[in-house]
């Protein structure tokens, strides 16, 4: 398996404060990587460097390299919109557009030039099926997306991200705002998507990391403390700090 | 810093506005006459208080000069409300002012409702064009044809090849009434613009090289050119001797049976006496006294 995304000596500053210190990480294709750590440790910040969403924050400075398919994404010749199409994102709080379900899913493809009704119909259906929500909404595609429940909205957002056919899907604490049943549905969904997509998921919930991820990265105060196979890391953490976090002594 | 700048600017602007406030004569009427809020005449014992006049915008200069002179003589203030002839007639009829001012003779029904007219002076109505216009005189017939739309281009009168732009006053204006009745174009004028004061007409004609308009002779300055009518240049003499045809009476309107206040009666006597002739002439109109 090759590494679809890598980070080399990645440092990030918000103004004067350094949020990421020398991150080195390889993300393998078609795997699920979990990023864990206490609040403020930099895991969400790191996630956002992978699709350059940090660019939107004023005063951000980045050094080092992040490569997608072996090309530095911070190079000035990179088309950031194309990058974001290939590296999609799902946010912590479900944020469907105030439009119909159909228009939500079709938004991405339409932005990228697909106008034909037939094509869009296919894409919408496929995305909703991939997100395991097709059966629930197929009769109400024209209804406003904000009428769905929290869990449904989040699956809708996943479908919306999948509609542009990304290779990597970044998920920023996608289930922290949801009830347990919705949470387990989304975890199932993620595991089902693994064979076609690469997933990087930030999670506050260690059990979730244990349940679904292949590799886990433990962040603390902007540093990548430990990174490796999930099972190994949880059974025999190499670093003392990792052990302390996992056993719940802080966090 | 911002606040200081704002404060300084405000003070500067206030000062410049105040410096523009000039004499204490009646304010020039360049905006549309609103419904006349004429003041009621103060009941004056032994010539104190004020005299209120209301009406024709054309009479502004005359009444202004007379009022000023009267004030200097007796100390009584004369107020003037430029609301238009029709409104002035209404105002005196309703008792809202002492003396109404009209730049046309009273209609029969107005006389019948108990109003009396006293002719103060005769005002020439100048036919004005832009100073750049080569035309210098027209006949009454030509003027009528221009205003009814029969003649539409200055070239037909010997001028430039340009469409004639007809400026006039709004329906009900004394000046319009005077103009239309003398030229025989009542209800037939094809105005391009109907403005609500003599001042507006003059300003508009001064700005448009192809415009023609009519305005009280007293108000015309050198921003526009007054045409000769039937070869007669409008001036005080030609109005007086009647050779300048386009003229109308300036009328003082009072209500029959209503006694004027002492101050108002005194003012009335003053302005209709020969004592006032010089002032009336100074305002550019021909006294009837």
């Amino acid at each position: 398996m090759n590494n679809i995304m890598t980070a080399r000596d990645l440092c990030l500053w918000y103004g004067q404060a350094q949020a990421l210190k020398n991150i080195n990480m390889d993300i393998a294709e078609n795997s699920i990587t979990a990023l864990i750590g206490p609040s403020g440790c930099g895991k969400s910040t790191f996630l956002k460097t992978l699709n350059r969403m940090n660019d939107l924050v004023p005063g951000v400075k980045i050094t080092g390299q992040v490569c997608y398919r072996e090309e530095d994404i911070y190079d000035k010749n990179v088309d950031v919109n194309q990058l974001r199409r290939e590296v999609g994102m799902v946010f912590q709080k479900p944020n469907p557009f105030p439009m119909s379900i159909y228009d939500n899913i079709a938004y991405g493809p339409r932005t990228h030039g697909i106008r034909k009704r037939g094509e869009l119909d296919e894409i919408v259906e496929q995305a909703l099926r991939d997100a395991a929500i097709w059966d629930e909404v197929k009769d109400r595609l024209k209804k406003n997306a904000l009428g769905l429940s929290g869990g449904q909205q989040q699956r809708l957002c996943i479908a919306r991200a999948l509609a542009v056919k990304p290779s990597v899907l970044l998920m920023d604490e996608p289930t922290s705002a949801l009830d347990p049943i919705s949470t387990s549905r989304i975890e199932e969904l993620a595991m089902g998507l693994k064979d076609r997509y690469t997933i990087v998921i930030v999670t506050h919930n260690m059990q979730q990391a244990l349940r679904i991820s292949d590799n886990t990265a433990f962040f603390l105060l902007g540093e990548l403390v430990e990174y490796g196979d999930t099972q190994t890391m949880f059974d025999q953490p190499a670093d003392k700090r990792t052990e302390a976090y996992i056993t719940g002594r802080f966090g | 810093m911002k606040k200081t700048i704002a404060l300084v600017l405000t003070v500067l602007m206030t000062l410049s506005v105040l410096s523009a406030c000039g004499s204490n004569s009646a304010p020039a009427a360049t905006q549309a006459p609103a419904a006349a809020p004429a003041e009621a005449a103060a009941e004056a014992p032994a010539l104190s208080g004020s005299v209120s006049t209301d009406g024709s915008t054309s009479m502004e200069k005359v009444i202004g000069a007379l009022g000023e002179a009267y004030e200097q003589k007796t100390g009584v203030t004369v107020t003037y409300n430029p609301t238009g002839s029709g409104s002035g007639i209404k105002a005196v009829g309703e008792g809202r002012c002492d003396i109404g001012l009209s730049s046309r003779a009273l209609k029969d029904e107005e006389k019948a409702s108990g109003l009396t007219q006293t002719i103060l002076a005769y005002d020439g109505i100048a036919i004005i064009v832009n100073p750049a216009n080569p035309i210098n005189d027209l006949s009454l017939e030509q003027i009528a044809k221009v205003y009814t739309g029969e003649i539409t281009n200055w070239s037909e009168l010997g001028g430039d090849d340009a469409e004639i732009v007809l400026i006039g006053r709004e329906a009900g204006s004394g000046t319009r009434d005077g103009f239309e009745s003398i030229t025989g174009t009542t209800d037939a004028c094809q105005y391009r613009q109907e403005l609500t004061s003599t001042g507006d007409v003059i300003t508009t004609v001064a700005q448009n090289p192809n415009a023609i308009g009519y305005a009280s002779l007293a108000s015309v300055k050198d921003t526009v050119k007054a045409l000769a009518v039937e070869g007669v240049t409008p001036s005080e003499e030609t109005v007086k001797d009647g050779s300048y045809l386009v003229q109308r009476p300036f009328v003082l309107v009072t209500k029959e049976g209503v006694e004027l206040s002492a101050a108002a009666q005194d003012f009335f006597n003053y302005i209709t006496s020969t004592e006032a002739n010089e002032i009336i002439a100074g305002a550019g109109v021909v006294s009837a006294n």
């Binding site: 699709n51 969403m53 939107l56 919109n81 194309q82 990058l83 974001r84 199409r85 999609g88 994102m89 946010f91 709080k93 944020n95 469907p96 557009f97 105030p98 439009m99 938004y107 991405g108 932005t111 990228h112 957002c157 919306r160 991200a161 542009v164 | 905006q31 549309a32 006459p33 609103a34 419904a35 006349a36 609301t83 238009g84 002839s85 029709g86 409104s87 209404k90 340009a162 469409e163 004639i164 732009v165 709004e170 329906a171 009900g172 204006s173 009542t186 209800d187 105005y191 391009r192 613009q193 109907e194 403005l195 609500t196 300003t203 508009t204 700005q207 448009n208 192809n210 415009a211």
Partner: protein
Amino acid sequence: MERAGIAPRPFRKGDNMAKKKQLVENLVHGLFLLLGLITVGCVLLITLYLVVSGIPAIREIGLADFLFGRRWASTAAEPAYGILPFILTSIYGTAGAILIGVPLGFLCAVYLAKMAQPGIRNIMESAVSLLAGIPSVVYGLVGMLVLVPGIRRLFHVPDGASLLAAILVLAVMILPSIIKVSITALEAVPREYEEASLALGATPVETWFRVSVPAAKSGIAAAVVLGVGRAIGETMAVMMVSGNAPNMPDLFQSVRFLTTAVASEMAYSAGLQQQALFSIALVLFLFIMLINAALKAFLKGSKEG
């Protein structure tokens, strides 16, 4: 068991202190109700007065002749009182002002809310506020001295005072309110929508026009309503630039609006002419109410959609 501190007091209404408080409560309620009623009363009074003053002329002239008659000659020997020219002029004038003012103001708002640097934004917002404070008569004066000759020279028409001049002046007058309300509406759109759009690979401009603007729709509609209200009621500025002849509306023709029709003839009017002017005022009033109702209904409909 006794509690330390405040001495226990019975909760009964008969208590003096409670009675006083209740009285004050009632008084204040009553006062506010009265103030509200005064406001409503004023509106009712005006409506009533307009109806009472406006109906007689309509009755005498005939509703159809009045509303659809094309000739207005109130002081002619054979008077005609058709106000269709005024109605159409007001409609066209307002529509024209909206057509120019809304896109201009709205795009300006998008620029100020999303794209402008803070320094530039401050300067431009101050300019907009200043524009909002300029009185109508100043607009009219500038229009008369600058715009009217300008139109005459630019379009080679005999006279620049026209519907076009009025539309331009009105458009500028409604800009500030449209800009301000639109900016508020745009800034109220949650950031999450924009983030989601960007994460899908849309450019910032695409995001603004495909997500932010539709989400701010009702605020922008409110801005349009404000603009329409101001445009249709404007008298002073329009009177100084539109020529005031009672013609059927045409872009370069001298025209008269419902508002200026009332203002220009009211001073000299008497008899049926005066009553007819009241009727025009009544029509104007009904117009404004109709437009407000229609826009409200439209807003409601789009919200539920």
